[in-house]
Each structure stands twice: as structure tokens, then as C-alpha cells.
């Protein structure tokens, strides 16, 4: 029991369950999932489907944060990916064929990889702090997306493309399957190879990692490229879901949601040990929170207030924990002499 209380996923899971139960109280059919025309429907499915882009981006963000970094550009990258694919479909001679959709997806993915490589280059080769390096793409990215779409909202009608965000396979929304596949892929990629451990090693102690012979540059590159890829796929989902590319609003504030999901999931912003399962739960909490606000009849935009409060509370919890740990040691008055602390 004690071990269960101490497990770092206990509280996030508890929070998720409480949120779901709260919804159930207000809407009796909340937890029910029904089969209709061979498709699964229900609030739970909606949460998963709407949360899919956040889950994807949060997966990439988890690895970036584990390596002591941060990627603020994911929203912009998602917008660019959507813009690239929709513009390609819109301008192609055969805008409704499967082949066109496939090329569009490939282009978007390549765009995501290139942008991730760019971030990784700025951080690991040029040596700019991650917040600042990704801020550049965050600033310019939406401009680039608008450049691609020529400032228009590009609507496309391509059934294959639309199915990414809105289609069903085996009764389940495709976006959920993609998110699940990405989750498994990230898990396998980091835990079947040594990447996960090496990312954690760099995130926990970069100096010792270097002395043990790790090539931090490759690892840093890898996490930002992965983050770019995740953001691109999320961008595809978002644009496919509305069958349009909106350079200004696609993925707006999604970087905040992703960071929030990672933090709720128990991964420290200081880097080091990470939990993909935790991030998944974190993302689901955020999506459920959004749904809850909706269920309670509060204007959906106000969700931002709740998210802000959650961030602050989670941060304070983690911070005060650190403080109690510090207090247990005998601490000298201050580190060195000559101090007059005033507040």
C-alpha cells in the first residue's frame, strides 16, 4: 500500500479517475461506449480522439524534457505540417486520390523532421539554450505556415486524407490508433535501444555522461527530430480533422498542453527520468479536464484558467517536496560570507 502511494503514477491516475467520475455524476451516460454502424462512440472515445494530437506532441516533448531541453516550437511545426500537406493536396492535379494524400503526408513528415533537425542543430551544435532556440521557430513558424498557404485557410476534400483525423478502422478512430502506435513506437525506440537510458543519463548528469564517452550531440539531435516528427503527425491529424489548414490557429497553445502533460506525468522539467505512460495519463487528464469544463457548462475557452491553475499547483507540489528534502540536511547559514539577504 505504501509502495503504491509512493509510486509516481499513483496521483496522476487518481486525478484522472476522479475527473472521469466527476463527469459521470453530471452526465449519466458519460462512461458508456456504444457501437453504432460498426464504429465506437462515446465521451471516452471523444476524449481519446481529441486528445490524440496532444498525446503525440507530449510524447516527443517528454524525450526532449528528459534530455534537459524544451521544445516551444511544436505548435508552429504542427501548423506548418498541416499547411504543407493541405497546400499540396489543394494544388495537385488529382486532389482526391489516395496517392496525393500519401505524398502530402510524406511531405509533412519530412517537413517535421527537417524542422526538428533545425532545432537540434541550434541546441546541440550552435549551443543555444533550448528555450531560446525553439523560440525562434515558434516566432517564425506560423509565418512560414502562412507563407505556404498564402495566408488562406486551405480546405481540401480528400477522403483518404480526411480519414487520418476522422476515419475509423476496426471500430476505432484512426487518430487514436496513430497515437497508440506512436506511443508504442516511442516506447520501443527508447526502451529496446539504449536511447532511453542515454537520454536520461544526459539529462541527469551531462558532465558524467560526457566522461563516460556519450556523444550528447547525437542524442540531443535525436530527441528534437523525434519531437518534430510527432508535431508533424499531430499537425496532420488536426488539419485532417477539419479538412483544412489554418496556419494561425492550428495547434495554438498545444506546446503548453504538451509541457503540462509531461509535468503532470511526473517527468521533471529539470530532465532525467521520464515516464511515457505518465505523459499519456497527463495528456488524458488535460483532455478530460477540457471535456469536464464543457460538461459543466462553463465556456470552453475558460479551460485555460483551469490549466494554468493545474500547472501552478503541480509546480508548487513538486517544488515544496524538493524544499522539504533540502530542509532535512544541516545547512550552513549561507554558502559564503558577506551576505545580507533582504526581501
Amino acid at each position: 500500500m505504501n509502495a503504491l502511494l509512493k509510486h509516481r503514477l499513483t496521483w496522476p491516475v487518481l486525478a484522472l479517475v476522479l475527473l472521469l467520475l466527476l463527469n459521470q455524476v453530471f452526465r449519466a451516460d458519460f462512461l458508456s461506449v456504444r457501437l453504432q454502424d460498426g464504429h465506437l462512440y462515446g465521451s471516452l472515445i471523444d476524449i481519446l480522439r481529441n486528445g490524440a494530437p496532444t498525446i503525440l506532441i507530449a510524447l516527443g516533448m517528454t524525450l526532449v524534457i528528459a534530455s534537459r531541453g524544451i521544445d516551444l516550437s511544436v505548435g508552429a511545426v504542427a501548423a506548418i505540417a498541416g499547411a504543407v500537406s493541405c497546400t499540396y493536396i489543394y494544388t495537385s492535379p488529382d486532389p482526391s486520390s489516395l496517392q496525393t494524400a500519401a505524398v502530402a503526408v510524406a511531405l509533412a513528415v519530412v517537413a517535421g523532421l527537417v524542422l526538428g533537425l533545425w532545432n537540434g542543430f541550434l541546441v546541440s551544435v550552435v549551443g543555444i539554450q533550448p528555450i531560446i532556440a525553439t523560440l525562434v521557430l515558434m516566432t517564425a513558424g506560423r509565418g512560414l505556415a502562412q507563407l505556404v498557404t498564402d495566408g488562406q485557410i486551405i480546405s481540401v476534400s480528400n477522403d483518404s486524407y480526411q480519414s487520418i483525423g476522422a476515419g475509423f478502422v476496426l471500430g476505432l478512430p484512426i487518430s487514436i490508433l496513430i497515437a497508440a502506435a506512436a506511443f508504442l513506437a516511442a516506447g520501443l525506440l527508447t526502451r529496446r535501444t539504449a536511447l532511453g537510458t542515454l537520454i536520461e543519463a544526459v539529462g541527469i548528469n551531462p558532465v558524467a555522461s560526457r566522461l563516460a564517452g556519450l556523444n550528447a550531440r547525437t542524442i540531443t539531435m535525436a530527441v528534437y527530430v523525434f519531437s518534430g516528427l510527432c508535431a508533424a503527425v499531430a499537425g496532420l491529424m488536426i488539419s485532417s480533422n477539419v479538412t483544412a489548414a489554418d496556419a494561425n490557429n492550428a495547434g495554438l497553445y498545444i506546446e503548453m498542453d504538451a509541457i503540462l502533460a509531461v509535468v503532470i506525468g511526473g517527468t521533471s522539467l529539470a530532465g532525467g527520468r521520464y515516464s511515457l505512460v505518465g505523459t499519456l495519463i497527463g495528456a488524458l487528464i488535460i483532455q478530460t479536464l477540457t471535456t469536464t469544463v464543457y460538461t459543466l457548462g462553463i465556456p470552453p475557452e475558460v479551460t485555460l484558467v483551469f490549466k494554468a491553475l493545474v500547472v501552478i499547483i503541480v509546480c508548487l507540489l513538486q517544488s515544496s517536496r524538493a524544499r522539504t528534502l533540502l530542509k532535512q540536511r544541516r545547512r550552513p547559514v549561507t554558502a559564503t560570507s558577506d551576505v545580507k539577504v533582504a526581501i
Binding site: 524544451i70 550552435v126 549551443g127 543555444i128 539554450q129 528555450i131 531560446i132 532556440a133 523560440l135 525562434v136 521557430l137 515558434m138 516566432t139 517564425a140 513558424g141 506560423r142 509565418g143 512560414l144 502562412q146 507563407l147 498564402d150 495566408g151 496556419a247 495554438l252 497553445y253 503548453m256 509541457i259 509535468v263 521533471s268 522539467l269 529539470a270 465556456p299 475557452e301 475558460v302 479551460t303 485555460l304 484558467v305 483551469f306 490549466k307 494554468a308 491553475l309 500547472v311 501552478i312 503541480v314 509546480c315 508548487l316 513538486q318 517544488s319 515544496s320 524538493a322 524544499r323 549561507t334 554558502a335 559564503t336 560570507s337 558577506d338 551576505v339 539577504v341 533582504a342 526581501i343
Partner: protein, 337 residues
């Protein structure tokens, strides 16, 4: 959440090798030079560009950004960052519009808005300082919170019809030769002057620089480091509120989605203005020049009919990157063990 580590002054000192002596003005001078070059280029390329009013319009159209950049300069000089400013601008506009609509006295409205902004910033500063949480995550939460509070006030746009605000929006201060500025320009320039005075003539201002140079050293020198760190976020919040009022004078409305991404413009203006993101180096006048450069980019794009508005974002991003790389070059590490 990471605890800000109070490292003792590092053994490997970073020497700002190219910022030595008088050369410390170099980045700011580069900014001013760049501005003049762009203005000259504009004069050559477009008829009618070379006029006092084109220059003055850079000020008139960017009053709120100037004030924001001033607040951001304080924060960045200490080595922090404030991502919440855009949202606080929007919140200030919403509060102002809603209260004016409810028939409040405009002076009371402005006072309340300024008080709210300053309090908001101070609270963020307190969280950053007391709980030792990274500034970017706290101000990110601030961004969410302020934006969300806008929606709490109203999801729709509120028009401002208050006579004082409309008068301020329409007022023009003639400067002779058919040139004019708006009252907002006067306010913005006053803010710049006041910030310059505070940064260079008061112990508080010097403490801001000292913290950016080395927080633990500043502590050992007996400076009021914690108080100063909280106050800079208060100043940034206050500046955001002033910018919100100026933006209201400019747009005569309150809208929840207003000023999105403005924090990025403010950061870009400060960085382009020659302030080091790691803190300690930079001038508020540089930030003013940074805003003017962002403004002239916009003017260029509007003069060049074929370029679309999104080029502004791309160029700002490119400028931001260029200046970050310049800073990187300036502050090449000289390792002395």
C-alpha cells in the same frame, strides 16, 4: 520541477570578450546602425518613405510594444523571461473595456488596470523567487491564466465608446510641418525615460544588472537580490498593463484574442536591441531601437505591395536568430581554470 540551482560563481568565467570596454555598446550601436540603414534603404526604394511622419508612425503604431519591451528588458537583464505579457495586455484591455462599458470613470479604470497588471506580475515573481521555479514555466502559467481570465470576462469583443478613450485614440499632437504624434507616443517615451533613469541612476537598477552578471555574487555583495527579482516581474506586469491601456487607445476595443504572440515580439525587440538573453548586458534605449526595427520591417512589407503580412513574422524570427547568433559570438566562452 527544477529548482534553480544557486551555483557559486562559476570557476569557468564567461568573459564577454567582445563586450569589453566601450565595445559593450556595440550590439546596441549595431541595432541603431541597422535601423538607420533600413530607413535609408527604404528612402531609396520607395518614394515618400523619407519623411518625418513615416518615422513618427513607427512610434505611433508601436506605443504598446515599446512599453512592453521596456518591461521585458528589466526581466531579461536579470536573466529571466516573461512569457505572459501578451496575455496580460489582452486582459488589461478586456478589464478596461468591460468596466468602461459598465460606466466606470476612465481614470478609475486605468488605475485599476495598472494595479491589476502590477499585482499579477508581482505574484508571478513571488512564485519564481519563493518556490524557485523556472521563470519560463511560471510565466507560461501566467500566460494561460491571463488569457483564460479574458474569456471569463467575455468571449466576444467589447467596443469602447468612452469619450476619454476615444479622445485619446483620435488626439494628435502636431509637431509642425504637418507632422504629428499621438498622446500614446508621449506616454511610451516617458516610460522609456523613466526606465532609463531607474536602471542607471538607482541602486535598484544597478542591482538588476548585478543579478544578470552573477546572482550569487550580487548576494555576496549584500544587494537586495530576492526583492529585486520579484520587483522586475512586477515592473513587467505594470508595463504590460500600461501597454494594454495604450493598445485600448489604439484599437478602442477589448478582445480576448488580442495581442496573441505579442510576447514574442517583445522578446525579439529586446534581443534585437542588444540585450543578452543570459542577462547582465543591454540598454533600454536599445530595446526602443529594437521596436523601431520591428516597426520598419512592417512598414517595408506594407510599402512593398507584393509581400504579404506573414513575412513580418518570418523576418522577425530571422532577426531574432541573427541576433542570438551574434550574442553567441560576442560571449564566446574563455575558459579560465
Amino acid at each position: 520541477m527544477s529548482v534553480v540551482t544557486r551555483t557559486p560563481a562559476p570557476l569557468n568565467r564567461t568573459r564577454i570578450s567582445l563586450l569589453e570596454g566601450k565595445a559593450r555598446y556595440a550590439p546596441t550601436l549595431a541595432t541603431v546602425g541597422l535601423f538607420l540603414a533600413m530607413f535609408a534603404a527604404g528612402a531609396v526604394m520607395y518614394p515618400g518613405f523619407l519623411s518625418g511622419q513615416v518615422f513618427l508612425n513607427l512610434l505611433v503604431d508601436n506605443t504598446f510594444l515599446i512599453v512592453l519591451a521596456v518591461g521585458m528588458t528589466f526581466v531579461i537583464l536579470t536573466g529571466g523571461i516573461d512569457l505572459s505579457v501578451g496575455s496580460v495586455v489582452a486582459l488589461s484591455m478586456m478589464i478596461a473595456a468591460a468596466l468602461l462599458q459598465a460606466g466606470w470613470n476612465p481614470v478609475a479604470v486605468i488605475a485599476l488596470v495598472l494595479l491589476t497588471g502590477a499585482t499579477f506580475g508581482l505574484l508571478m515573481g513571488l512564485v519564481i523567487q519563493v518556490f524557485e521555479i523556472q521563470p519560463f514555466i511560471v510565466t507560461l502559467a501566467g500566460l494561460f491564466l491571463a488569457r483564460g481570465l479574458c474569456y471569463v470576462i467575455s468571449v466576444d469583443s467589447i467596443t469602447v465608446t468612452d469619450p476619454f478613450f476615444t479622445a485619446m485614440a483620435q488626439a494628435r499632437i502636431p509637431l509642425g510641418g504637418r507632422m504629428f504624434i499621438s498622446p500614446g507616443v508621449v506616454i511610451a517615451l516617458l516610460v522609456v525615460a523613466l526606465a532609463f533613469y531607474v536602471l542607471h541612476q538607482t541602486r535598484f537598477g544597478r542591482t538588476v544588472y548585478a543579478i544578470g552578471g552573477g546572482e550569487s555574487s550580487a548576494l555576496l555583495m549584500g544587494l537586495a537580490v530576492p526583492r529585486t527579482k520579484v520587483l522586475v516581474y512586477g515592473i513587467s506586469g505594470l508595463c504590460s498593463a500600461v501597454a494594454g491601456v495604450l493598445f485600448s487607445f489604439y484599437s478602442l476595443s477589448g478582445y480576448s484574442l488580442a495581442a496573441t504572440g505579442l510576447e514574442l515580439d517583445a522578446i525579439a525587440a529586446v534581443v534585437v536591441g542588444g540585450t543578452l538573453l543570459t542577462g547582465g548586458y543591454g540598454y533600454v534605449l536599445g530595446s526602443l531601437a529594437g521596436v523601431l526595427i520591428l516597426g520598419i520591417v512592417q512598414t517595408f512589407i506594407s510599402y512593398e505591395g507584393t509581400l504579404s503580412s506573414w513575412w513580418t513574422r518570418i523576418v522577425i524570427g530571422a532577426l531574432l536568430l541573427a541576433f542570438i547568433l551574434l550574442q553567441k559570438l560576442f560571449s564566446r566562452k574563455v575558459t579560465v581554470t
